[in-house]
């Protein structure tokens, strides 16, 4: 019985416990919250460990629930360590919850208006934009209604490219009136690019006036002359409507309206960029209207990105040249010019004065000579910006391609052509070019090549075997002056000749590196070595020098050579001899007393034999930096018996093109043998003098950067 009673009691307890828990969950507690609350309310304050073991839950689960109960203020924690948790009495909890619910209802009631306006402002863009859409819209009605929708959807800006008739038609059909219905139209910018002509000024004014009344509008006119004018509408850089008009651009028929609509970022973005490009290269519409009404063309300066457009404009300007064409061009472009020889003859027949400046080098010398039948052509230093000025009105500047100065094979580009017809800018640039022109020289028939190899050959560059000797006049008769090796005897046999490709640059350098100066006593050594750099510069001196054409040979002999270091100059004149024009060695200056004998033997029978000057070390300096040679002399060099004096000056040789290597040996009957090896370049020669700086064409210099001359006595 007792057991039964217990059972009845127990069931009662269970029932009421279930009922209690249920009413707790009805109050908004979770099952776990209800259970813990109930346990604490009945058992009194408990530690966390007691709760977890009684309710068979993990500590982690408990803490999550306890924290929620604490935040609802129905469970408190004591400050004991470890903390004990206690339940707030149920009647208090009930009051609390009832009050909270009522408060919540009040709050929502009070905020109803705000919530409703929040609700109104919610759009569901994320859902719509998550996929890119492409739609082809056909027919005027549909295209126009889509444009209207785009206008209404605009947040910040709407950009339009269209011909004027398209804009006017859209206005006529009331498409643009929709702007009036846009709630934030004062915050929107409306930009359009169009192209207007003389007869359009009234209608564009009317259109802008109408638009300005309802929206911030900016308009520009493009002058690029787009043959097929693109039409597009871009909204906020998010949505693009692009007109594809398959048959006609006029769209007279309403069925001709075809457009592609997309919100695909990877398409809209580039089109936005296209718009911005077009925008920045266009002129304010008011300026254009003014220009059309007054007939005055305002100056314009712009970058033409598109190669075809640039070429079109350039060719047109060249064709229409009336008075004068001034061209500065790189060496390789000069070579291209012969392709268009008709243009040059047309200019010549029309009396257009044409001046061309270009670096003249071995490769383009023949072209330069051909062109000089039609135009004036002069040598200019490298690295000038490629520029053309036409009639003093049009200025074109082309982007130099990196490395084009060194590499003749690089194609030129017309991309990003700079154009200006701004009078001030064109005049200034022309003045600069005129100054360069005055200081430039025409390519001479007397080239360094002809020095070594007469008559001038049509081959490009200096033929390697020719650098051994050049044509001079001595002892009253023309002779071959054997410069390499110094002619000790006329009966020289050349053996072991190795041209470019057989001997490499590396091999020549290695010979020099391996050379060590041998200790020298008073007797003549068996083996004489000169490691040297040699520059040959053909100088056409400015008039006030009162000098004939000069060939300057500057020799820098390294200290590991047998006779030690020496800087020396040998001066040749191009003189009218009884046998015609020849190079004549006129003077030698050096700074090593031991070199005197060597020079004397080399200049035997020429005026230079009597014109040897020993200079102090600080009066002559020849230095080699990479592929340039710089020679400077601080005293005037008098050249007897002539009345000439070469003033103190400097020459600079700047190598260009590819290095060439060459080696050979010579044997003379007395068994004296010479072994020679060179790495050499063609070079631009510049004469620097405080009164003038003169730069000669690339055909005027030869630079032996690495020279090895070995003489073995029998």
């Amino acid at each position: 019985m007792v057991n039964y009673d217990f059972a009845v009691y127990g069931r009662d307890v269970e029932l009421s416990q279930e009922k209690i828990l249920k009413s707790l969950t009805n109050l908004g507690l979770t099952k776990a919250e209800s259970k813990i609350y109930f346990y604490l309310a009945k058992k009194g304050p408990k530690k966390a460990s007691e709760i977890t073991s009684a309710l068979k839950m993990t500590r982690q689960q408990l803490y999550i629930v306890i924290r929620r109960l604490q935040s609802k203020a129905i469970v408190n924690a004591t400050i004991d360590r470890p903390a004990k948790f206690s339940a707030v009495p149920l009647n208090k909890v009930l009051d609390l919850i009832a009050k909270a619910k009522f408060e919540e209802a009040k709050i929502i009631e009070n905020n109803k208006g705000k919530l409703l306006s929040d609700w109104e402002s919610i759009t569901i863009p994320a859902v719509e934009d998550s996929t890119s859409k492409f739609t082809v819209i056909k027919g005027r009605k549909h295209v126009y209604s889509k444009i209207q929708q785009m206008i209404l959807d605009t947040q910040s800006q709407i950009s339009v490219v269209s011909n004027l008739s398209g804009l006017l038609r859209a206005d006529h059909f009331g498409v643009l009136d929709i702007i009036n219905k846009h709630p934030n139209r004062s915050k929107i910018q409306f930009r359009f690019v169009t192209e207007i002509s003389q007869q359009d000024t009234q209608s564009i004014k009317y259109l802008i006036k109408n638009l300005s009344a309802i929206i911030k509008v900016k308009a520009r006119n493009t002058d690029i002359g787009l043959s097929l004018f693109p039409k597009m509408v871009i909204r906020d850089n998010e949505e693009l409507l692009y007109f594809i008009s398959p048959k006609t651009n006029q769209m007279e028929n309403k069925d001709d309206y075809f457009s592609l609509l997309t919100n695909c970022t990877s398409i809209v973005k580039p089109f936005s960029t296209v718009f911005e490009d077009l925008w920045s290269n266009s002129t304010e519409i008011k300026q254009k209207i003014n220009e059309l009404e007054t007939g005055k063309l305002p100056p314009r300066t712009l970058i033409i990105n598109d190669e075809k457009k640039a070429k079109g404009k350039y060719d047109q300007a060249l064709r229409n040249a009336k008075k004068e064409v001034f061209i500065v061009t790189p060496a390789n472009r000069l070579m291209d010019m012969t392709k268009n020889i008709k243009r040059f003859s047309s200019w010549k027949s029309r009396g257009v004065s044409v001046k061309i400046m270009s670096p003249i080098i071995g490769e383009n010398l023949a072209v330069a000579k051909e062109l000089s039948n039609y135009v004036q052509i002069r040598h200019s230093p490298v690295n000038y910006l490629e520029t053309t000025i036409i009639d003093g009105e049009h200025l074109f500047q082309f982007k130099n391609i990196e490395g084009a100065a060194d590499n003749l094979d690089l194609p030129s580009t017309l991309e990003n052509t700079f154009y200006s017809n701004d009078h001030e800018r064109v005049t200034k640039t022309e003045n600069i070019l005129q100054n360069i022109w005055i200081n430039s020289s025409a390519p001479s028939l007397i080239t360094i090549e002809s020095v070594f190899n007469s008559p001038p050959s049509t081959q490009t560059g200096v033929s390697a075997s020719k650098i051994r000797q050049f044509n001079v006049y001595r002892d009253g008769k023309p002779s071959t002056f054997r410069r390499f090796p110094p002619a000790l005897s006329p009966d020289v046999n050349v053996v072991d000749e190795k041209e470019q490709g057989v001997i490499t640059e590396r091999e020549v350098i290695n010979r020099i590196i391996k050379t060590n100066r041998e200790p020298m006593d008073n007797s003549l050594p068996k083996r004489i070595i000169a490691c040297c750099s040699i520059g040959f510069a053909l100088v056409h001196p400015p008039n006030h020098f009162s000098l004939p054409v000069i060939l300057i040979e500057a020799m820098h002999i390294d200290k590991k050579s047998t006779f030690g270091a020496e800087d020396a100059l040998m001066i040749y004149f191009w003189l009218d001899t009884p046998m015609g024009f020849k190079y004549v060695p006129m003077a030698v200056v050096g700074d090593n007393p031991r070199g005197r004998i060597a020079w004397a033997s080399q200049t035997k029978g020429t005026p230079a034999e009597k014109n040897y000057h020993l200079l102090e070390k600080d009066q002559i300096q020849i230095q080699v930096y990479g592929n340039t040679l710089f020679a400077e002399w601080a005293t005037p060099i008098s050249i007897v018996p002539c009345k000439y004096t070469l003033p103190p000056a400097a020459i600079l040789l700047e190598a260009y093109g590819k290095v060439r290597s060459y080696s050979f040996s010579t044997v003379i009957p007395s068994k004296l043998r010479n072994n020679l090896a060179f790495n050499y370049f063609e070079a631009f020669a510049t004469l620097m003098h405080n009164a003038s700086e003169y730069t000669g064409p690339g055909t005027d210099g030869l630079f032996i950067r690495d020279g090895y001359i070995e003489t073995i006595l029998p």
Partner: protein, 117 residues
């Protein structure tokens, strides 16, 4: 700005006892008009299973209705009605707690903690 209003609307819906994901379904339906399950699943990028669960809960709360068409078309009641419903429920809950307070307290006293529940 739109983000904030969306947050506030979501919050008020959550306070009605609607989960965030269910609330999003409601907002989409209320804004875009009646939809089939397939369309909803595509637009909201939810699985049909998830969607049916959400719709079931929303129907229980009486803020989403379904038509007798096949396939069924779901529609949402207007947001203003939802707010009114929300206020009504809160007030009712508050009143009913106070009404049943005595009864609850008496059964509370007789109830004792038994660990076997």
């Amino acid at each position: 700005m739109f983000k904030l209003s969306l947050d506030r609307v979501l919050k008020s819906l959550v306070s009605l006892g609607i989960s965030q994901s269910d609330a999003e379904v409601y907002i989409y339906l209320a804004k875009e008009g009646p939809k089939k399950v397939g369309d909803l699943a595509n637009a909201l990028e939810l699985s049909r299973q998830q969607l049916y669960l959400s719709l079931k809960k929303l129907r229980e709360k009486q803020i989403v209705k379904t038509s007798d068409d096949r396939p069924s078309i779901f529609s949402a009641i207007a947001f203003e009605e939802v707010i009114d419903l929300l206020i009504k429920i809160k007030k009712e809950q508050s009143a009913s707690i106070l009404e049943t307070k005595k009864e609850l307290l008496s059964s509370w006293k007789s109830a004792d903690w038994k660990n076997n529940t």
